[in-house]
């Protein structure tokens, strides 16, 4: 992918807000709010289409059911709140009312990851991918920046007809992808070409992976960087190709290592083309209060940690080859 230049720093929720405002021109789209409308990027839609935005209060389980009833009545409901609530508190409702009924309900998982910062562990969703990933019929998207989040919500509304979970964040992160990029749900994007090892990242850690790849290049290691924006259904072809061509895969996500995107990649790699792997993410711990950048550093989810793990694993690959 070309044009790897930071255009600005923007929260992915801004992209969600803009995309929903655009896709909201479809009169079937109905927005459901759970008290934190502006905070999760539902505000532009709510302002533009007040007749199609409904407040349902701090009652997320009900919101998922209401969304299901709307979807069973030819509407396209969009419900978003913090991912700790929209995905975790409501898992049973998502499992039965949404997924078992195969409904086109769009669920936003806002404020994902430790980068929510000072609010602390209660509000830092680090388990949502693992739980959503185990549910049949759902599609999980975790876009890498604000521009891509905008395209993702538009695609989720316009091009899909199944349960959708879109994960995004609150903090400003580099916005570097272009409006007319080739974004297709289910199709991973190669951001940096390389054949020595592969870094598969999701969310804003894609940019961190790109920075890490730059540093690796200075050391003579050509790292491939893949943006796995769709975690389910997973792009097996891109993963198998990376395993075969680069022989080592490192995954990076702002989520628990257990059950997350890296686990999903490992399931493909182990079955189809086993190569050494390593995982960057939360190591089965809760987060804490702090500035986003402090937390990402403390819990090892920055370009520096990706670089370090990549170097360690690259030598592992070389020693394996000597055997």
């Amino acid at each position: 992918m070309d044009n790897l230049i930071i255009k600005s720093h923007r929260a992915t929720k801004e992209g969600f807000a803009e995309g929903l405002r655009i896709a909201g021109n479809n009169p079937k789209v109905i927005g459901l709010g759970a008290d934190i409308t502006a905070s999760v990027g539902m505000n532009l839609f709510a302002e533009a289409f007040p007749e199609r935005f409904f407040s349902f209060g701090i009652a997320e389980q009900n919101c998922i059911g209401v969304a299901s009833g709307l979807a069973l009545s030819e509407k396209i409901p969009v419900f978003s709140t913090y991912a700790v609530f929209s995905a975790l508190r409501t898992t049973d409702q998502i499992r039965i009312s949404v997924c078992y009924n195969k409904l086109h309900v769009i669920i936003g998982g806002a404020h994902a990851g430790v980068s929510v910062g000072p609010d602390g562990a209660t509000h830092q969703a680090l388990e949502d991918i693992a739980i959503m990933r185990s549910l049949p019929n759902i599609t999980i998207i975790s876009p890498c920046d604000a521009t891509q989040t905008k395209l993702a919500i538009i695609a989720a509304i316009d091009n899909m007809n199944s349960p959708m979970y879109i994960r995004y964040g609150r903090e400003a992160v580099p916005d570097f992808t272009i409006e007319n990029q080739n974004f297709e749900i289910g199709k991973a994007q190669t951001m940096v070409e390389g054949n020595d090892l592969t870094i598969i990242a999701t969310g804003h850690l894609v940019w961190e992976a790109i920075i890490a790849a730059g540093k690796l290049k200075d050391k003579g290691i050509n790292a491939r960087v893949i943006n796995l924006h769709t975690i389910k259904p997973i792009d097996e072809e891109a993963i198998i190709k990376a395993a075969r061509e680069t022989g080592i895969i490192i995954t990076a996500e702002e989520h628990q290592i257990q059950g997350g995107m890296g686990s999903a990649v490992a399931e493909v790699v182990v079955k189809e083309y086993p190569v050494p792997m390593d995982f960057i993410g939360m190591k089965s711990s809760f987060g804490e209060s702090g500035k986003p950048e402090e937390l990402l550093k403390k819990y090892g989810m920055t370009s520096d940690s990706i670089y370090k793990i990549a170097i360690e694993n690259f030598s592992r690959k070389k020693s394996d080859q000597k055997l």
Binding site: R52, F54, Q61, G69, D92
Partner: protein
């Protein structure tokens, strides 16, 4: 066209047929929820043969009334009633709970049975879905009603009250819930497991129009539904007093029959009792 039964005698006879088929289907399956299915037979007869505006030959007709069964475990009464109403062949009832059947243990739309409005079985979800349907009807200015059948034990689920609060807030007057007040749940009598009284006061305080009726008196059931439809500013709930296992004297009011299936021998006896009670 849907079959409309007008007289008490016709409705009573239909409920007897439905009860007998519920027993046959559950006995054939070897498992299933007998008690609640039997006690809802009169209410389902009234709904599908008198109250609902529906088209069995066109299950997805857009202006239909919607009937959301929140307590998916009483699927047998829904399936038997749908079959009698003409949604699918009565013959198919004997596939209940068997591999490959469209008649799943709890309703699953994915299996293609016509007439199912919702896949449900995890308690506390149906009323929220009904609220969503009522919202869609309101947005589209449709005249259809949304009905939702709840269990009394189900009222112990907190999410029911989230849904109740929201329906009143948005003034969905074309949403009508019905609570199957049989006072039984798996562990025992509802008041022992977890007291839900005062039910009427609870719903009233949540902003609902509340009426009660004898859930086994067809005329009273129909009149109560007609009465709540005159409400213009709030959702309504009917607390229908029922007897678990109604129609089979030997098990009536016995919570142990919540989730138990009769053996084939018992089924013959139960069917005879239903005939004698008619």
């Amino acid at each position: 066209m849907n079959i409309i039964l007008k007289t008490r005698e016709e409705l009573v006879l239909k409920s007897i047929e439905i009860r007998k088929d519920i027993i046959s289907a559950i006995a054939e399956a070897g498992s299933g929820h007998t008690g609640g299915s039997l006690d809802l037979a009169d209410i389902f007869t009234c709904l599908y043969f008198h109250i609902l505006n529906h088209r069995p030959e066109e299950p997805n007709w857009e202006n239909r009334d919607r009937m959301v069964l929140s307590i998916g475990h009483v699927a047998p009464v829904l399936y038997v009633t749908l079959a009698h109403a003409g949604y699918f062949p009565i013959e198919e009832l004997k596939t209940l709970r068997k591999l490959g059947s469209r008649l799943q243990g709890h309703p699953g739309r994915d299996h293609g049975l016509p007439g199912l409005e919702l896949s449900a079985g995890s308690l506390g979800q149906g009323l929220s879905v009904a609220v969503g349907m009522a919202l869609a009807n309101k947005i589209d200015k449709k005249d259809g009603y949304v009905y939702c059948i709840l269990g009394d034990g189900e009222l112990q689920e907190g999410s029911v009250w989230e849904a109740a609060m929201s329906a009143a807030h948005h003034k969905f007057n074309k949403l009508i819930a019905l609570v199957d007040r049989n006072n039984c749940q798996i562990d025992g009598v509802t008041s022992d497991v977890m007291e839900i009284e005062p039910i009427i006061d609870k719903w009233k305080s949540f902003g609902w129009n509340v009426l009660s009726c004898d859930g086994h008196n067809h005329i009273e059931i129909i009149e109560t539904f007609e009465k709540v439809k005159t409400t213009s500013d709030r959702p309504s709930v009917i607390i229908a007093k029922t007897i678990m296992g109604k129609g089979v004297r030997s098990i009536e009011g016995n919570y142990k029959w919540h989730g138990k299936a009769p053996s084939k021998e018992e089924a013959l006896d139960f069917i005879e009792q239903i005939d004698n009670n008619g």
